[in-house]
């Protein structure tokens, strides 16, 4: 007995959706566009974050060690640096490895290889590549190293040079620009979300407005509020559901095409230079599909149903 009205309400909601084909179509188009805005905000955020990470990843400082420094001392220092809270990662490059890398890079250039041969000894110092959690922290790390000035057993300084000063300018700028960009992005996203919600809300209100005579007739034959409102809410949720599915399909298509398209538009031939940006959208989309599904479909359904629920209220006062 409790089940019968629910069954009727749901059936009636579906029938409404189908019979008011034109209205439903209009609502689905508007809600789809609004949800696409939401999708684009997510994608822009992801893509922007990928770009920022890519830039951040390219920022680092190198600690060059004295030629005579013992590897064991360097590794001990690496342990110490790793323990600092500001440090994200460190990579030790021994002088042999640096030489090998250099040779590998210039193996086709006879002149350079010849010059290297003439030097005879390995001219490359061992180095430690340090990446901070945040670009703003390089100064602190560099200061730490300068103040500590580690020495080996005989008292000779281990560190030859820290290349912080040379990179200081760009690091400072980035550490200012990145948070500002992120903040601006959040504000823009919020504005777009609000706009999307208002557009959907008003569309649904217009749809309910066209049904206002129907609502009053239903009330006058003695239907309870929930029995009149139920089908409207079901229809609203259906608009959201259909729009959500359409939006997810559009997002998948966008993610697939955009990855190559963006790079091509940017005129980048060698995609490997941008390895963090390549496929970022489709990777993100499929990796977080469950989350996207819940966000897009969920906001569509909730927005549609809630708008209908509230919009019907003023016509139920018969």
């Amino acid at each position: 007995m409790v089940f019968t009205p629910i069954k009727r309400i749901i059936r009636s909601g579906f029938v409404n959706f189908w019979r008011n084909g034109f209205l439903s179509f209009a609502a689905v188009v508007v809600i789809t566009l609004s949800l696409c805005t939401l999708g684009l905000i997510i994608f822009t955020g992801v893509f922007g974050q990928a770009l920022i990470n890519d830039v951040k990843d390219k920022v680092d400082i190198n600690v060059y060690f004295a030629l005579g420094a013992q590897e064991s001392d360097i590794l001990a220092l690496q342990q110490e640096i790793n323990a600092l809270p500001e440090v994200a990662s460190t990579t030790y490059v021994s002088s042999d490895a640096a030489l090998a890398a250099f040779k590998n890079k210039w193996q086709d250039n006879a002149l350079i290889m010849q010059g290297l041969d003439e030097v005879g000894d390995n001219p490359f110092p061992a180095s430690l590549n340090i990446k901070a959690q945040d670009p703003g922290q390089y100064g602190a790390i560099a200061d730490y190293l300068t103040n500590k000035n580690p020495t080996d057993a005989s008292g000779t300084p281990l560190i030859e040079k820290v290349n912080y000063e040379e990179n200081k300018l760009i690091i400072d700028r980035l550490s200012k620009i990145i948070p500002a960009t992120e903040k601006a992005g959040t504000v823009m996203a919020l504005i777009f979300v609000v706009v999307a919600v208002i557009v959907v809300w008003n569309t649904i209100r217009l749809i309910i407005y066209t049904a206002k005579d129907e609502i009053s007739v239903m009330k006058l034959v003695g239907a309870s509020n929930s029995y009149v409102r139920g089908p409207l809410v079901v229809s609203g949720a259906l608009y959201g559901l259909v729009s959500g599915i359409l939006t997810l399909a559009l997002m998948a298509a966008f993610a697939y095409w955009s990855d190559t398209l963006i790079l091509r538009l940017a005129g980048v031939e060698v995609a490997s230079d941008f390895e963090l940006v390549v496929n970022v959208l489709s990777n993100y989309f499929w990796a977080n599909f469950a989350e996207m599904f819940v966000i897009i479909i969920g906001s569509g359904v909730i927005l549609g149903a809630l708008s209908s629920y509230v919009a019907a209220r003023r016509y139920l006062r018969v």
Binding site: M1, T4, V15, V217, M218, L220, V221, G222, A223
Partner: protein
Amino acid sequence: MCKRLRLFHKFSLGAIFHTVPYIAGAQTMCKRLRLFHKFSLGAIITKYLDMIYYDKVTKVYPDKTVAIDGVSLGIEPKEFVTIVGQSGAGKTTLMKMLIAEEWPSDGAVYFESANIHRLSKRQMNKLRRRIGMVFQDYRLIPNKTIYENIAFAMEATGRNDREVAADVPHVLELVDLGHKIWNFPHELSGGERQRVAIARAIVTQPDVIIADEPTGNLDPTNTYEIIRILQKINELGTTVLLTTHNKGVVDTVKGRVITMDKGKVVKDDKNGKYIL
């Protein structure tokens, strides 16, 4: 019996006292006596015996139009009452008050001794299910089929699917529309739509049918058809309230005729003719 009681009300103690203060001119006295009149025996008894009772109802619209001006009116069960009057005489407002589509500015409307405008939402829905409304403009739900339109009224009253499936075709046969059961309202003629509206009104077996100018948009043949259906319903024991400004209709019905003019009842005739 009822007639005698109404007569009693007319000369009840309360009513008599009610006139006294105006003569005496004592304001406080007047107030107290009017209160007394409200609970006078006559009023109470009439209220309980009549199915519908309008107690000195006045309706003033926000634009200060006086639609109803102190109307007191009792309607007994199983009566067929025709309310006539020119447009703007207050007929429709009077009908709308019965289903609480309009609220009186002063006075009260009772349905089986319950003040309609004091009912809770739930009670109001229950009351509306006992009153079948037929409107001049039909008011069918456009995107529901004829079957669904009528089924909706039944579903609203909580009937189960089996009852709905059995009763809807039956009631449509009754108004001679069995063959249009799956059509939409816009595919029907005016007369057919009004018959659907009547079918919707009677399918829940209400105690009262209110037909507000049901023939206003119809040709004479369809008009006669609609009135005949209403009379049939009345013979089966349902109270019918009909408003019209069609002389032919009144003369066909030959029941109690209430004539309204400028918001007042000017004539209440047991076996009335159309006189304006």
